[in-house]
């Protein structure tokens, strides 16, 4: 493994790769910093640029954007009270009060330091855990893969929403979209209505771009143009004393973040929120949280960067994406003819290790590049949405078109943009749909393969130990929210009874 990592580092030093990595980091900074462009959207927007690149360069670009945009969302969260990315929402709680107190520079420094530390800790866990999981997964056969995909889908459906029915509706809808086109096992056309374009199926890139980017633009266009403000801040990295003071918080939040990131379906945003409330709970002076203290910035910022790296673990080791952005990365791998999963370490070892080293370097470079970047940043933020909006739409169209050179796909993108807009208005979570579309072919193929292998014997999923454990986990993830609701309602009822007795 050390050999592989050294090889990966060697690949990074290739001038072109290094240039791409730097470009990715800067793009991540800019995109994450501008409110209205999230890391997910940025990776989507840059997919078309990566189509024609070598896989190494393409994935260095996409993953470094993914890693750094999580950090830079905090810049506008601290300075303008507008989180640049959803992941930075929790940073507002203490970051903005700090800026109001005139400690904006200090808050930015804390954010830089904790993001980089959280990201590096996350990457180190990623580097060691991924090969382990991949080796373990080598023994998987069709029933295990089906159980794994099913577990991923149920966990996403039950955790991301807080509303089981809507989550599972999304999953079923997504899985269904994936069945349109020629059946991969028998070649039978399904739901094609005799159309040649439907025959080749609905590609998931237009679905993704529609659901995440177009629906967001459709919402942004209805908002009032954002006022751009002008604020000069000198970033100061934390002193030794401050570093010592927040190191405990960073350590705990990073570990929590990684754990949450590895779980499918809940990503960096939840990790940041949870670690903020955990940090307040662990603190000796919880009442100070929210008034502008460095711990309140350090906790969410280290957790979201760590979680972003944690979400890469299931993607690289099992081929099962843990979040929306990693689902897009999975799509990018497939576009380049690479199937992520346990075999990737053997077939694409050099690429995987280069990506891992790239992530490590990207997170380290946050420390060095962020400070000069922020001083330039105030100028970039002045670009109004009336210019950024049309550009996003243009990139979405090109990105969709370039996958298969198909105008039909652009239409599909538009359709899913509208679907995504209304579903989001009705508080439907979009991530289950996306994971359904991405995991659909895997789930169905492995299910039918398992059925063929074992003569349509359904018990096979329950008699093989690993598959049984995975299915039980899936069941737990469904029952847990119901159980929690039941407990809550009982508690509320007891309280009500008490109140009536007292009165």
């Amino acid at each position: 493994m050390i050999e592989g990592l050294m090889g990966g580092f060697g690949n990074l030093l290739d001038p072109f790769n290094l240039l791409i990595l730097l470009a990715g980091i800067l793009l991540g900074f800019i995109g994450g910093g501008i409110p209205g462009i999230s890391g997910t959207m940025l990776v989507i927007i840059l997919l078309p640029v990566s189509y024609s690149m070598e896989p190494t360069a393409a994935f260095l670009l996409l993953t470094s954007i993914y890693a750094t945009s999580v950090f830079s969302g905090s810049i506008s969260a601290i300075l303008f009270r507008t989180p640049g990315t959803p992941e930075a929402v929790a940073t507002v709680f203490d970051g903005y009060p700090m800026a109001q107190k005139g400690e904006g520079g200090k808050a930015l420094g804390v954010s830089i330091f904790s993001s980089a530390t959280g990201g590096v800790i996350g990457t180190i866990v990623l580097i060691f855990l991924t090969p382990l999981l991949a080796t373990f997964a080598l023994s998987f056969a069709a029933p295990e893969y089906f159980a794994l995909a099913l577990m991923g889908l149920t966990v996403v459906a039950s955790l991301s929403a807080g509303n089981l029915v809507k989550g599972f509706l999304g999953v079923a809808f997504g899985l269904f979209i994936a069945t349109i086109g020629l059946d991969s096992m028998t070649g039978t056309p399904r739901f094609t209505f005799g159309s040649g374009q439907m025959m080749s199926g609905i590609d998931f890139i237009p679905v993704l771009i529609g659901l995440f980017a177009i629906s967001e633009v459709l919402r942004q266009v209805q908002k009032k143009p954002r006022k751009t403000s002008n604020q000069k801040v000198r970033t100061e990295l934390p002193s030794w004393g401050l570093m010592k003071r927040i190191s405990n918080v960073i350590g705990r939040s990073s570990l929590l973040g990684i754990f949450i990131g590895i779980l499918p379906g809940i990503g960096a945003t939840t990790a940041a929120m949870l670690s903020y409330s955990e940090a307040a709970r662990w603190s000796k002076k919880p009442e100070e949280f929210g008034t502008g203290i460095p711990e309140g910035v350090a906790a969410p910022e280290s957790a979201n960067n760590a979680a972003a790296m944690g979400a890469m673990v299931p993607l690289l080791s099992l081929g099962i994406p843990g979040s929306a952005t990693t689902a897009i990365l999975l799509g990018a791998f497939i576009l380049h003819g690479i199937q992520p999963g346990p075999l990737m370490f053997q077939t694409q070892g050099s690429l995987v290790y280069t990506i891992l080293m790239g992530l490590l370097v990207a997170n380290l470079l946050i420390l060095i590049i962020a400070k000069p970047f922020i001083s330039v940043f105030s100028k970039i933020l002045r670009v109004p949405y009336s210019i950024i909006g049309p550009l996003i739409v243009l990139f979405c169209i090109i990105g969709t078109f370039a996958v298969r050179n198909s105008i039909f796909d652009v239409g599909v993108m538009l359709l899913f943009g509208i679907i995504g807009y209304f579903l989001e208005n009705a508080k439907f979570p979009l991530a289950p749909i996306v994971l359904g579309v991405v995991l659909g072919p895997i789930a169905e193929d492995q299910f039918r393969r398992a059925m063929q292998m074992f003569n349509n014997d359904f018990t096979i999923f329950f008699t093989r130990p690993i598959s049984l454990v995975l299915l039980l986990l899936a069941l737990v993830s469904v029952l847990y929210p119901l159980f929690k609701k039941w407990i809550n309602s009982r508690r509320a009822k007891l309280r009500n009874d008490k109140n009536t007795i007292a009165s």
């Binding site: 959803p86 039978t188 399904r190 579903l423 063929q452």
Partner: protein, 170 residues
Amino acid sequence: MLLERTISIIMIAFSSFFLVLSFQIENRTGDLIAPGTWPGGLMTIMLILSIILFFRSFSAKSNLNITKTANEEAEDLANEDEKLVYPVKFFYLIGALLVYTFLLEYVGFIVDTILFIFFLSFIFGIKKWISGLLTAILATGGAVILFPILLNTPFPRGVGIFNTFSLLFF
């Protein structure tokens, strides 16, 4: 709630329609696990769930009991003081996208995109028409240089005179 009810009705129609279609997918082997089994199962699940959603949307109680997840709280904060003030622009944007997609094959990428971005920058609230035109030309120019010229992506050229015009660039 009205939106939720409408969506659940659409979903009931959608899943019943495709459930019927799944049964009609030909099954050459006569096996239990046929090409239609998987989508049929999915549509059954979706039908049941959307019926549940439909009936739940009538009981107002379910709205009160839902405890907010961390995610939703975060979203609320992000959406704070960002109200949707121009609902009509939603339809402008969709209309523009539809017209653009339809014309792309006939007019070609360059002309269609310049007009589209120019129009879009007004929807997004640009003030001066000259800056809208500048955005349109620069964005289209940048896209043409990056994709067809540098990355060899074949872009739609359009028909007739537009085809000839596009050959000047890529």
